[in-house]
């Protein structure tokens, strides 16, 4: 029970629980029922987890959907806003641009108008100066009305806008009479007070009234011909003209009247210049100017014509509408243009050189502004793009959400599947384990039943029942293994072991079955394979057993051949007995091509691709073995070959009926091989046979001191006679293991001739039965040759008996020739015994210890002085018994104190096994004290004060091993802390004891 519990310590929680609560009920089935509810726990857990994930997913999805409900309008409105912003901005820009354009055009027109007016005004001024020069400064005057009119007429092109000019002279009241006389007419009033018919402009001179007396007068004396009728009119009599004249003489510049209707019914203004007696300084005061003024020159400007003319000169006059206003008064007086005031007006101030008069020009596009198509299309386009982007984002988000949803669902399903798988494994493990316990009871009882008095029928029934039970237990073990592997709880051991022994053991196991079926069973391990390897012998045995078992199951005739090589060997000579030749197999039957079974191995393909690369494993201590099991069975149908390694898969349903088994073995083997970092493969030919090959990476053991070649066979020569080289090789291999020097021959006649020549004669001759029968004609000769000398240690003849040939029929041969018969399959231990028996020198001890492993332990412990410390007398007795069995000489101590007194150096003990839990003084404490004593002695030795008994000893350190019932890590650490050398579990276990003892005894041997 302890063993199982320990082996299972890595097992599932459920299983541990069981182990810790033993004795609750004998039949484990009851417990199983109790255990099943906790088994559902992971399901429940996963269910709650599922629920949570589900809720979470739904929540997220709902969130996405909820938000999309208000996100869409929000998005649309945002883009509407953006689009309208863009529209507004663009249209504003367009309007601005249009306004600027208008302003520029307006400005152009205004400037042109100004310029033209200024030109006219300047010329008017020049005319004024002309008058002043030639009329006033000359006496008599150089100008008369005729000259003036003529001159004015001829220079009219200089004043394109003046329709007429007139000159009025300043006449004071005192001078009036003389002036009237001189001119021949009286000064007339400009506007008759009676007839208001002529509101503006002077009327006919004949109709006009005479000017009433005033302080001064400004009668027109010269005028252009078109305006001849204004001569003799007093300029000061009209309100506008008077104002103009007064302002003109004050300022010395040209002044303008307000616009008025001209005779031709168009709007015009009069510009007036004062003519001075002498030239005035620019900064003359108004008073001085009034004093100096002697006449006034007036010109009539036709504003409408002026503006029309100037506008004609500019392009684009159609698109623009121009209005000119006089804005001197509150109410602007329209001078030009239709009197409409639309929107989009541009106002420009005009300067016509008269500071007191203000003019403005208003411009406006005739056409209303066009629709801002660019802005409209742009903004609509952007809006559409925004909507499209929004849709794309929405679609993407929706898709992501859906994919996430799917993912969640899938991971949920995956999780569920995984949970189910784990649950399955756990269930299998639990149930298998629980079935095993009662099955043991059943089997035990059946065993007991068989021992009672039963008749033949009953015995048969019981035997069948027991066989079925055993089959069930082995099946359950397999299922348990599978479950363990699947749940990843299987861990490999790493212990030193001898692969050859393992192979021999497996062969022994199948010995009976092979003999029943008449199959030849053989093993060959290459001598490149180290003696001791570190790995998990149990698992390797399991794999090989499974493969060999399968082979035996499906093979009716021929052989099963197990070979072990180092991978490098195979690498270097890939042609190693590929088994294609029919004759060159173990039994002569054809086999499947072995090479094909590993052609898919990655190890090889990698190697072949880069042959110069050093072998990966050769650098370290690890070694790759390639192990093949070859049979001549029915083979695997090609359609079933693909699922050979699938659990619970068999070639067909009939297979299970005929051969039994679950089909789980190969799957387990594959997993185990995988755990050993190896690969498994096979080659099979229906009706020819199958070859399964696997590789495994193991570790080379360093302390391979024991060659295990018993010295007893040293110097013995053997001859193997076999016409089949492969079989001869197997025999040779086994003999070599025993240290027998041997040679092979396939031809007896050749050998006989050799004996005749008197060369060295082999002491042992091993002949295969088949060869014997084949060459029976020459054998009697050989036998007599070998025996003729009649010496006591004459050559021994061995016949290697094949199980398939009936022993009885040939038994006379053995008697006749005094042959020793060795039954195949060959195994080292069996061969050893046979040879010993034949040679007569049988070592009693070796014989008894038969098993190699024990003999190693025996040789390690023999004659060793060992002290066992335990307060429990029963334990003491058992431990002592076990150690004595291995040949050790045991001293018992029942307390730590006693142990200390016994182990006070110098003493003659080689090792100490110490119980940990003891009353008064526990094992740790005792060990500490012993170590202290040893250190003291070591110091003495160093100082050379050692007592004489310790001469030749450099350092004392007795190996102390703890014995403990609970093998847990903490205890182990504590052991090392109290300077123990290791621990063994209590009660003793052969394997572990050996391991621990070997660890220091082997080292010790090496040191010494």
């Amino acid at each position: 029970m302890t063993v199982t519990a320990r082996g299972r310590s890595g097992g599932g929680a459920g299983m541990e629980e069981k182990c810790d609560a033993p004795g609750l009920g004998f039949l484990g089935l009851d417990r199983m029922r109790v255990l099943l509810p906790p088994l559902r726990l992971p399901e429940k857990l996963s269910a709650s987890r599922t629920l949570r994930t589900h809720l979470f997913t739904n929540y997220r999805m709902r969130k996405v959907r909820d938000s999309s409900r208000w996100l869409i309008p929000l998005w649309v409105s945002i883009w509407v806003f953006i689009a309208s912003l863009i529209y507004l901005r663009m249209s504003y820009q367009a309007v601005e641009k249009r306004r600027e354009l208008l302003a520029i055009m307006c400005d152009d027109r205004a400037r042109m108008l100004q310029d033209q007016l200024n030109v006219s005004m300047n010329h008017l001024q020049a005319l004024a100066i002309l008058v002043s020069t030639f009329h006033h400064s000359k006496t008599p005057s150089a100008i008369d009305q005729k000259t003036f009119a003529w001159y004015a007429e001829r220079t009219a092109f200089e004043r394109p806008l003046t329709s007429g000019v007139a000159y009025g002279v300043k006449v004071t009241h005192a001078e009036r009479e003389q002036f009237e006389r001189q001119q021949g007419w009286s000064i007339k009033k400009m506007y008759s007070s009676k007839t208001k018919k002529q509101s503006q402009g002077p009327g006919n001179a004949e109709d006009a009234e005479v000017r009433e007396p005033a302080e001064e007068y400004a009668p027109v004396i010269f005028a252009q011909d078109a305006y001849k009728h204004v001569i003799s009119f007093d300029l000061l009599s009209g309100a506008d003209d008077r104002d103009n004249v007064l302002r003109a003489r004050e300022s010395g510049k040209g002044v303008l009247t307000a616009p008025f209707k001209l005779l031709n019914n168009r709007l015009g203004v009069i510009s007036t210049y004062a003519v001075y007696k002498y030239e005035l300084p620019p900064n003359a005061r108004p008073q001085e100017r009034i004093q100096a003024a002697i006449g006034y020159l007036g010109g009539i400007f036709d504003i409408e014509a002026l503006v029309d003319k100037s506008l004609h000169q500019l392009a684009g006059k159609q698109s623009i509408m121009v209005n000119v206003y006089d804005t001197t008064n509150e109410k602007p007086i329209s001078m030009y243009g239709s009197n409409d005031t639309g929107s989009g007006m541009c106002k420009v101030t005009l300067n016509f050189g008269d500071p007191t008069r203000k003019h403005e020009m208003h411009c406006r596009f005739i056409q209303s502004p066009p629709w801002p198509w660019l802005a409209i299309t742009t903004s609509i386009g952007i809006f559409v793009i925004g909507l499209l982007v929004g849709y794309i984002i929405y679609a993407t988000a929706k898709r992501i959400a859906r994919v996430e949803d799917d993912f969640q669902e899938m991971s949920l399903l995956k999780k569920r599947a995984e949970d189910a798988d784990i649950a399955k494994s756990q269930f299998l493990a639990t149930v298998s384990h629980e079935i095993r316990t009662p099955m043991n009871g059943v089997l035990g009882m059946l065993q007991m039943l068989m021992d009672t008095d039963l008749d033949t029928t009953q015995q048969d029934y019981v035997r069948t029942a027991q066989a079925s039970g055993k089959a069930l237990v082995s099946l359950i073990n397999e299922v348990l293994d599978q479950a363990k592997i699947e749940s990843g709880k299987l861990e490999l051991e790493a212990v030193p072991f001898d692969l050859r022994t393992v192979c021999d053991d497996i062969l022994s196991l199948f010995c009976g079955k092979a003999q029943e079926k008449g199959l030849e069973l053989a093993v060959f391990v290459s001598d490149q394979v180290p003696q001791t390897l570190i790995g998990d012998p149990g698992r390797i045995r399991q794999i090989i057993t499974n493969l060999v078992g399968n082979s035996i199951k499906f093979t009716e005739k021929g052989h099963i051949y197990l070979t072990v090589h180092v991978v490098e060997e195979i690498m270097h000579c890939l042609e190693v007995e590929t088994g294609t030749q029919y004759a060159n197999t173990l039994s002569g039957y054809p086999v499947a091509n072995r090479k094909r079974s590993w052609e898919n191995f990655r190890l090889f393909s990698r190697e072949l691709n880069s042959s110069e690369m050093p072998f990966a494993t050769s650098a370290s201590d690890s070694i790759s073995l390639i192990i093949s099991v070859e049979d001549t069975g029915v083979g695997i149908p090609s359609d079933a070959q693909s699922r050979v390694f699938t659990p619970f898969m068999q070639v067909g349903p009939s297979i299970a009926r005929i051969h039994g088994g679950t089909g789980i073995g190969l799957s387990i083997s594959k997993c185990l091989v995988g755990l050993m970092k190896g690969e498994i493969g096979f080659a099979s030919k229906p009706q020819v046979g199958s070859t399964f090959t696997f590789t495994a990476v193991l570790t080379r053991a360093h302390s391979s001191v024991n060659e295990n070649k018993s010295s007893e066979f040293k110097g013995i020569n053997a001859l193997v006679v076999d016409h089949r080289p492969v079989r001869a090789k197997v025999t040779k291999y086994h003999l070599q293991r025993l240290g027998v020097h041997n040679e092979l021959t396939t031809d007896l006649d050749q050998y006989i001739s050799k004996i005749n020549c008197g060369s060295q004669i082999a002491k042992l001759v091993l002949i295969d039965k088949e060869t014997w029968l084949k060459e029976s004609h020459s054998l009697p000769l050989l036998v007599t040759k070998l025996r003729n000398k009649d010496q006591p240690d004459s050559t021994k003849l061995f016949l290697l008996e094949n199980p398939k040939s009936s022993v009885k029929s040939n038994s006379h041969i053995f008697r006749e020739y005094n042959l020793n018969v060795i039954m195949k399959p060959l195994r080292a231990s069996m061969l050893q015994v046979s040879l010993q028996r034949a040679l007569g020198g049988i070592d009693k001890l070796h014989c008894r210890n038969g098993v190699v492993g024990n003999s190693i332990l025996g040789s390690l412990l023999r004659k060793k002085q060992i002290i066992v410390v335990d307060d429990n007398i029963v334990n003491l007795k058992v431990a002592a018994g076990a150690l004595k069995k291995y040949g050790a000489e045991v001293t018992c101590a029942d307390s730590g104190k006693k142990a200390i007194t016994l182990l006070k150096p110098p003493h003659s003990f080689d090792a100490c096994f110490m119980d940990i839990q003891m009353p008064e003084m526990d094992g740790f404490e005792a060990t500490r004290r012993i170590r202290v004593m040893e250190r003291d002695l070591n110091e003495q030795i160093e100082r050379g004060e050692a007592p004489p008994e310790c001469a030749g000893v450099r350092q004392w350190r007795t190996p102390i091993l703890a014995m403990t019932a609970d093998v847990i890590q903490a205890t182990h650490e504590q052991c090392l802390k109290s300077e123990m050398d290791g621990y063994v579990s209590k009660p003793f276990e052969g394997e572990q004891l050996y391991r621990e003892v070997a660890r220091f005894f082997l080292n010790q041997d090496q040191v010494q």
């Binding site: 004998f26 009871g441 021992d451 429990n872 058992v878 209590k986």
Partner: protein
């Protein structure tokens, strides 16, 4: 039925009923011509030792104030002995006993002591039969 058969059946029964485990087989394997009475010696020792310990345990638990550490020590000893002999049932009960000692539950201890006693005396009876049969097989008169 021969004594040898009876002996084999008895031992098989003890295994099957879970009284014994593999360790007992180990013991049997240790018996060889150099130590012919190994198993019987160990078994006798175990029976005597076990009886003593159970007596001690009863005494300890009878006291008004129980020293559980002492009880634990005794139980531990019995556990060790039974493990060495392979007395599975007794060992398992001892493991339970140890736990109860750590919990310092007197009632539990008394109850378990009773179980231990029953298991132990069952095993002792079987062992005694076994020894007797063994003597018969080995050719000693049964009344010796």
């Amino acid at each position: 039925m021969s004594a040898a058969n009876q002996l084999a059946a008895l031992i098989a029964n003890m295994f099957a009923t879970g009284l014994l485990d593999d360790q007992f087989q180990q013991l049997q394997m240790l018996q060889d011509p150099s130590a012919p009475n190994f198993v019987s010696e160990v078994v006798t020792l175990f029976c005597q030792d076990g009886e003593r310990i159970i007596g001690e345990l009863a005494k300890q638990l009878d006291k008004p104030s129980v020293d559980f550490d002492r009880v634990d020590a005794f139980v531990h000893q019995l556990k060790g002995s039974s493990a060495s002999v392979g007395a599975l049932k007794v060992k398992n009960t001892c493991i339970q006993f140890c736990e109860l000692c750590q919990q310092k539950s007197k009632d539990g201890c008394l109850k378990t002591l009773e179980t231990v006693r029953i298991n132990f005396y069952e095993l002792r009876g079987k062992f005694q039969t076994m020894l007797q049969l063994e003597r018969q097989v080995n050719g000693f008169p049964p009344n010796n």
